[in-house]
């Protein structure tokens, strides 16, 4: 008992002393929030998952924008495991640190909504990118493509590449059963597929795991003799599905399409297993996001605006809080080598 009380007293005393010290020094960030042009603006870029090439390429674009603008201090951090709770915690930490703007790519909009709302209430500018949050939690959403255009585009590409008369089965290889983006695309793809000659045989959920995606794709190829195509709708599972087709020697018999960064799919496009790879210019997405954030902080961009000029990207339309990046990019054999991300 004696030892324990001792530790406790020691601890409390030092904590109190320490806190005194902390409180005499003014919080740096509180002063930093003045909109003086001599002070650097801190913009935090929060991806869904830190460490995957999709978001790393967005970060590269964001870095370009930060360099161009000159007065931006860019912070790029996010959960390495994609945990939305960690995203919320990071937002809260940044709010306390007094940053100027937070750009969130929410993995689960409801989970981060409260943290984002509190950030806004504390004066931080909050916007979403890549995926949207709830209406009240952000000022703008930098949108690269709607679920509608992605889902329908994928189905259209499959039909075009296979040939519209081809009858057969297709399979969707998604990622986690809880992944919001993927589920939204699936909801669009299902009715779109019904209008074609292709039948959706099943949907597999291997999780963000390339090894499981490979296994599932192999099993699916074995099971459905009439399989004509696979949709790999996640940047982790798309290469896995294409790899399965190649390893089983089914290049040309089963076509794979999906979303991924071009670098990851170059070899499959060249070998013919994959004819179209969907994405958008992720560098531009990051670039645009930082420009929007900076403009929000400096007051250039106000709520309710209908257009915005973003550096080298030119003028972008704003429709109902959505700042539209532009069109989907489709990488094929002809153009995939021009891109390096």
């Amino acid at each position: 008992m004696f030892g324990k009380s001792l530790s406790f007293c020691l601890l409390s005393t030092l904590l109190i002393v320490g806190c005194q010290r902390g409180e005499t020094e003014r919080d740096l960030a509180a002063t930093g929030k003045k909109s003086g042009s001599d002070k650097k603006i801190t913009i935090c870029l929060l991806p869904k998952i830190k460490g995957i090439s999709y978001f790393s390429s967005c970060f590269n674009g964001a870095r370009q924008a930060a360099e161009e603008l000159g007065n931006v201090e860019l912070i790029y951090d996010g959960p390495t495991d994609g945990d939305p709770k960690k995203q919320a915690e990071m937002i809260e930490q940044w709010t306390v640190d007094g940053v100027d703007a937070i750009c969130v790519a929410p993995n689960a909009p409801d989970v981060v909504a409260n943290a984002m709302k509190e950030a806004r209430a504390a004066g931080v500018k909050v916007l979403t990118w890549d995926a949207d949050g709830t209406q009240e939690s952000r000022s703008f959403f930098v949108n690269q493509a709607t679920a509608q255009s992605i889902g329908e585009g994928l189905v259209q590409a499959m039909v075009n590449d296979l040939g519209s008369e081809v009858v057969g089965d297709v399979v969707i290889i998604s990622s986690d059963a809880t992944a919001a983006n993927q589920n939204a695309w699936i909801d669009v793809m299902k009715p779109a597929l019904q209008k074609t000659n292709l039948t959706l045989a099943t949907i597999k959920y291997p999780g963000e795991n390339a090894s499981h995606a490979l296994a599932d794709a192999q099993d699916v190829i074995e099971k459905y003799p009439n399989l004509k195509g696979m949709f790999g709708i996640s940047a982790v599972t798309f290469p896995g599905a294409a790899e399965a087709v190649e390893q089983d020697g089914k290049t040309g018999q089963v076509l794979v399409t999906g979303l991924s960064t071009p670098n990851d799919m170059k070899k499959f496009v060249h070998s013919g297993t994959v004819k179209s790879v969907f994405l958008w210019n992720t560098l531009d997405l990051g670039y645009l996001t930082v420009h929007v954030a900076e403009a929000l902080v400096s007051g250039e961009l106000k709520e309710g605006a209908t257009s915005f000029t973003a550096g080298r990207l030119g003028e972008k339309k704003i429709v109902a809080d959505n700042i539209l990046l532009g069109d989907i990019l489709i990488f094929t054999k002809d153009n995939i080598d021009q891109y390096d991300f």
Binding site: G3, K4, S7, G78, G98, D110, V111
Partner: protein, 318 residues
């Protein structure tokens, strides 16, 4: 008693070391980043640790008996799903909460039965339920999430009374109850006895199996309470609630001085361990802003704290 004897008899060295480490960390952090020590931001960010803290209260006695509960996080997932399900089905928050608590009780009880009655090793049972409960939660919810429980409910985790976050009061009550139980009641002594030597405890007439059953059930109950805080904090109930928490909890308990072999440990140590881990993570996160470093630092802290203790202290056991 002479001073030297006092020092030799002093059994709070581990807790004192953790306290010292904590203070040094805060001192260093304070110098490198003055805003780190502000009381209001610390209190706000303490939000991140309340659920883990509540779980740790249940984990500590279990580890003191020489067992382990790896399923704490997965129990949270299942409780969250049941909460969301019942809330949506009935429209009543009370029913949701009751469902959550009942689920926690059932999950803990299942662990308890398998460990006490069927005498399966706790590591194995909880490893199995760790996978099983999470899987069931995902299956039932089909990956959907339930949300928007209203601002008053969110206030449970996000609000504060007299400056201190509300979950803190819940935690304080549970911690005080736990400390009294462990330190002052016969049951507490029995828990330590089981940890020291289970056979001897059994022969001494302690109802070992019954006590173990209730410990694991209590852990499940605490997990359900932690779930309520969690769900309120994020306004969302989803099957992935509590993912990864078991690692955090075990780290906090072990860093706090509870021996994984059992027989030694205290709630005060666990609280200090929690604080140390929390502050370390906060500091790494806010100063270096690299999420990868967080896991590395915590991993090293875990191994390091036990290593230093084992190397410096001659432990006659194992």
């Amino acid at each position: 008693m002479s001073l030297w004897n006092r020092i030799r008899r002093f059994r709070g060295w581990h807790e004192a070391t953790i306290a010292l480490l904590l203070v040094s960390l805060l001192a260093v952090a304070g110098r490198l980043m003055p805003s780190f020590l502000r009381v209001d931001s610390q209190l706000l960010l303490s939000r991140h640790i309340w659920e883990v803290a509540i779980l740790a209260l249940g984990m500590t006695p279990i580890i003191i008996t020489g067992g382990i509960d790896l399923s704490a996080g997965s129990t949270m997932g299942l409780c969250a799903v049941m909460f969301g399900l019942c809330l949506t089905a009935s429209g009543s928050l009370t029913i949701g909460c009751l469902a959550c608590v009942a689920t926690g009780f059932a999950c803990g009880a299942l662990n308890g039965v398998l460990i006490s009655r069927f005498r399966v090793h706790p590591l194995i049972v909880t490893l199995a339920t760790f996978a099983g409960y999470r899987g069931i939660a995902e299956g039932i919810s089909q990956g959907d999430s339930y949300s928007k429980f209203g601002d008053s409910f969110s206030g449970l985790a996000r609000g504060s009374w007299i400056g201190i976050p509300r979950p803190g009061f819940l935690f304080a009550m549970l911690a005080i109850a736990g400390t009294v139980l462990l330190g002052r009641t016969p049951t507490g002594r029995f828990i330590y006895a089981i940890g020291h030597n289970q056979q001897a405890a059994r022969y001494s007439g302690i109802a070992v199996e019954r006590l173990k059953f209730w410990l694991y059930t209590a852990s499940g109950l605490l997990a359900s309470l932690a779930t309520l805080v969690y769900v309120s904090r994020f306004d969302t109930a989803k099957a992935d609630a509590g993912k990864g928490f078991e690692l955090d909890v075990i780290t906090a308990v072990v860093v706090g001085g509870t021996s994984i072999f059992g027989g030694r440990g205290s709630l005060l140590g666990t609280i200090l361990g929690l604080l140390l881990i929390h502050e370390t993570r906060l500091f790494v996160s806010r100063y270096w802003r690299t999420d990868e470093l967080r896991s590395i630092v915590v991993g090293i802290l875990l191994i390091g704290s036990v290593l230093v203790y084992r190397v410096c202290v001659r432990d006659r056991r194992a």
